[in-house]
């Protein structure tokens, strides 16, 4: 059937610069570029281009430009180009439109409507280059009070403290499973997490055995509805265990790793046969209620001898704060909430673009809910979904999060350009693919360095902003709405965020 969708991108090649090295042809897994021997020149097929910019960056002569196509349908405020094309594709295929990465729709990005405070006169700002600036954070349950026994000046702690994760900076790598991303990308995240004093999350695809000894100490291992790759050693080699209930990019639905991506190594790690689809059901079929979740939380605590904090990850949806409060009471030590703009390797576009609420609003309402119930200290909050820079991190913390997960940001650090074709398995950047030829493009060492550089740079910027506010320990900013003001927001939005307007 002839497709009525025209190309998204237009490839412009400067023939004067092009040296016919055929580099672009090798770089593109989508087969966009082709060498024509008769003409001794490269020919590009705009239809195949996904706009990932791999050929542009790797062209030794800088001969290629890829830009949005100039063709357009008659402008129509209601029938945008995207709506038209999605509809045409469905008419041609009869299928669900798939996509990757996070929601790209222009929902209000609250980060960009919140400004931070700084000290003037009455409270000296602090120079982080000269004074200590502390970002160390503990994630997990804290008791209501700490009983101590004092004898002859020696202080003995009487209260039994719950296990906590200690992070040197409040930025953790979000769940991205081996299978969804390549082994090299997965290992780079693990390496960078260990080097930066933080944690990576294995996602639901298990943790390869050979990585457990070296990287287990900085791993949060996930238990998801597919229960892939879970055994006692998997749970016990890690620093914490996370039960994945929902994901911001696709709340309410499960996951599907196509059989083509299930290589021998992925199969061994997930404990499934090679080449079979790895399907994660939408719900956990042993969790149909909060008491079921509590049983799983305690089953995992039993399995790990109460030595590891248990996290529960849910998507931020309309009534999530009440649910999260129930999850804390059900025994979770950490609540991870994933907002509207959280990323994914594959999701139905209709779900990704229309389900869930923005993380900024979610942080504030969850923090307030737990405070109102007097249980805020019983669990830490990790916020995920749409964290783009250090300022987003510090705003998330001032709104009430204990730390953040970054997923898309980490992938971008490794080379991702958010082309949203993760579900094709053809990632030219070697990140979201199991094709050995493509995956080999990602050098683990270099990718790990880029990731730890990112953590270092953000941490430094957070210290600068913190020092500017006259605060030298991050815990003094947590939930401190006094240091935030809103700009260009409606009254109800300020109410939900719990902040004043700028100038108020």
């Amino acid at each position: 059937m002839k497709s009525f969708v025209f190309p998204e991108f237009q490839i412009i090649r400067d023939e004067a610069k092009c040296g016919q090295c055929r580099g672009c042809e090798r770089q593109c897994a989508f087969g966009t570029h082709r060498y024509d021997e008769a003409q001794d020149r490269l020919i590009s097929d705009d239809y195949k281009c996904v706009g990932c910019q791999r050929c542009v960056i790797f062209c030794p002569k800088d001969a290629i430009v890829v830009k949005p196509t100039q063709s357009f349908y008659r402008p129509n405020a209601s029938w945008s180009r995207e709506k038209l094309e999605d509809l045409k594709r469905q008419a041609e295929t009869g299928g669900v439109i798939l996509t990757g990465c996070g929601n790209d729709k222009p929902f209000r990005i609250y980060w960009d409507h919140i400004v931070l405070n700084a000290s003037q006169v009455t409270n000296p700002s602090i120079d982080p280059l000269r004074e200590p600036m502390e970002l160390r954070t503990f994630l997990g349950s804290k008791p209501d009070f700490m009983g101590v026994e004092v004898e002859n000046g020696d202080v003995e702690i009487e209260t039994k403290l719950s296990p906590n994760l200690m992070v040197e900076t409040p930025i953790l790598f979000s769940a991205m499973s081996y299978g969804a991303i390549s082994y090299n990308a997965f290992r780079a995240l693990a390496t960078a997490a260990c080097k930066s004093g933080t944690y990576f999350n294995t996602g639901e695809g298990g943790l390869p055995r050979e990585m457990r000894e070296e990287f287990g100490r900085c791993a949060i291992v996930q238990v998801a509805s597919g229960r892939f790759g879970i055994d006692a050693e998997y749970l016990n080699c890690a620093a914490a265990v996370e039960i994945k209930v929902g994901q911001g990019a696709k709340p309410g639905i499960g996951g599907h790793l196509p059989g083509e991506k299930v290589s021998a190594e992925v199969a061994a790690t997930r404990m499934i046969p090679v080449g079979t689809d790895a399907i994660s059901p939408a719900p956990h079929h042993d969790i149909y209620s909060i008491e079921d979740l509590s049983m799983l939380i305690y089953a995992l605590k039993e399995a790990t001898n109460y030595e590891k904090p248990i996290s529960v990850k849910i998507a931020a949806v309309h009534n999530f704060a009440a649910i999260a409060s129930g999850i804390v009471r059900a025994g979770a030590d950490i609540i991870a909430i994933d907002g509207l703009r959280g990323g994914t390797g594959a999701a139905p576009k209709a779900i990704r673009d229309n389900v869930g609420i923005p993380i900024e609003l979610a942080i504030s309402s969850l923090d307030r809910r737990l405070r109102d119930e007097g249980i805020r200290n019983r669990a830490s909050i990790i916020a995920a979904g749409g964290i783009r820079c250090s300022a987003d991190v510090i705003k998330a913390i001032a709104l009430g999060a204990d730390a953040v997960y970054i997923g898309s940001a980490a992938l971008i650090a490794m080379g991702c350009t958010l082309c949203q074709k993760c579900y094709t398995g053809k990632c030219n950047w070697g990140i979201c693919t199991q094709d050995p030829r493509l995956a080999g493009r990602l050098n683990t060492e270099i990718a790990a360095t880029r990731l730890s550089n990112l953590i270092h740079a953000w941490s430094h910027e957070i210290s600068e902003m913190l020092g500017g506010m006259g605060i030298n320990a991050l815990e003094s900013l947590r939930g401190n709405h006094d240091h935030l003001r809103g700009i260009g927001l409606y009254e109800w939005e300020l109410d939900v965020l719990g902040i004043k307007g700028a100038g108020e």
Partner: protein
């Protein structure tokens, strides 16, 4: 153990979104304690705080005095402030409060706090004191006396408009208002009517908002009082944590969080003052990581559990308590504090000159390190001598 927060719904008398108004101020603080428990008038303390006149701007001054009500030492001394535009408004606020008080407490004595009408202070509220015992009924019978008093104080301060409880301890009291501290001292005739074994004093320099009498220091809850120089940048964080434990921050200034934190940690959680200092102004992680294992474990646990009570930003504080006076600065010591002793006397002051003014000879003078508490304690608990002070 802590049932307060569940039973007691905090309702803030302000716009939903307007979380709080924080006043920022620079100040002078002074404290004097006789460790033998001998009581003395505020004359010297007023002289000393007046010597630091320029550290304040006349928008707030106050005193806390311990051991001033020996006749009523077993009763909670509630100091009330009734505000309003005119006498009628103040009387009506008092009537509202009196109705509440009769329901919840047994009052053994009450009177207006004596003052000099010819004073220079402006717009004084009606200040009244009540000596009371809890009259616990129903579900509240299970609360301890102290928890009960705290709960009722919080209720009054959030629910009865224009009535503020600003002092609620036994055998102690706060006196404060708008004006220079020496003016407030004269207004309440502290140099003539009261004798205390500990006096703390405060002169205030608020940088914003119009001053009001309730906003002056000291801040007090039960027998804990706090005078404070500085700004608490962690106020928003400290505040939500304390609200979880039933403390309503209503007095529009950051200092009250210190008083509530001290009450939570010292009275309710029974932590020794040395540990409380390590919670309010903990050592930095670099130092903790180098300590021996038991110390490291303890301080790590304290920071982990009580991180939200770290007081960040510059401060020097004097905490008064029955039988104790504690001085503390923030951990990077951004505000001045000098400690000194002379015989049984123990002094804390923003400036050494103020101490020297009233006690030229000193046995010892030193500058405490940031985050390290200095604690003066009564040598023996003979706080009350059998004296009767005539209250006008």
């Amino acid at each position: 153990m802590f049932t307060l927060c569940l039973e007691f719904k905090i309702i803030m008398p302000r716009k939903r979104r307007e979380l709080y108004n924080k006043e920022i101020c620079a100040c002078s603080i002074f404290g004097a304690m006789n460790r033998d428990g001998d009581r003395f008038t505020a004359e010297g303390v007023m002289k000393a705080i007046a010597n630091m006149h320029v550290r304040g701007n006349g928008l707030g001054g106050g005193f806390a005095a311990y051991g001033i009500y020996p006749d009523y030492r077993d009763y909670y001394a509630l100091h009330l402030m009734f505000t309003g535009h005119d006498w009628e408004a103040k009387r009506s606020a008092k009537q509202d409060f009196d109705a509440f008080l009769c329901e919840n407490f047994d009052v053994v004595h009450d009177e207006e706090v004596p003052h000099r009408d010819e004073s220079t202070v402006t717009d004084p509220p009606l200040v009244w004191r009540y000596f009371v015992l809890p009259n616990k009924k129903g579900d509240e019978a299970q609360l301890s006396d102290e928890d009960y008093v705290v709960k009722k104080v919080m209720w009054v301060n959030t629910q009865i408009e224009k009535a503020f409880v600003f002092s609620s301890g036994k055998n102690m009291g706060c006196f404060k208002g708008v004006g220079y501290p020496e003016e407030i001292g004269e207004y309440f005739m502290l140099d003539r009517l009261y004798r205390a074994y500990t006096w703390t004093a405060h002169g205030r320099f608020p940088t914003n908002t119009q001053a009001w009498w309730g906003g002056a220091h000291p801040f007090s809850l039960l027998d804990i009082s706090v005078v404070h120089n500085g700004e608490i940048s962690s106020y928003g964080t400290n505040r939500w944590y304390l609200e979880m434990y039933g403390y309503a921050c209503t007095l529009q200034t950051d200092t009250e969080v210190i008083a509530y934190a001290a009450d939570l940690l010292m009275r309710r959680q029974h932590l020794p003052v040395e540990l409380v200092a390590k919670i309010l102004a903990p050592p930095i992680w670099n130092s903790i990581d180098r300590m021996n294992e038991s110390e490291r474990k303890l301080l790590t646990a304290l920071r982990m559990v009580y991180g939200p009570l770290l007081m960040n930003g510059p401060f020097a504080i004097i905490i008064g308590q029955t039988g104790k006076m504690i001085g503390l600065t923030d951990r990077i010591r951004l505000r001045p504090l000098t400690a000194a002793t002379r015989g049984a006397m123990f002094y804390l002051s923003s400036e050494e000159a103020a101490i020297r003014l009233i006690s030229p000879q000193l046995d010892d003078v030193w500058t405490p390190n940031g985050g390290e508490p200095v604690v003066g304690e009564l040598k023996n608990i003979r706080m009350v001598k059998d004296e009767v002070i005539r209250l006008s």
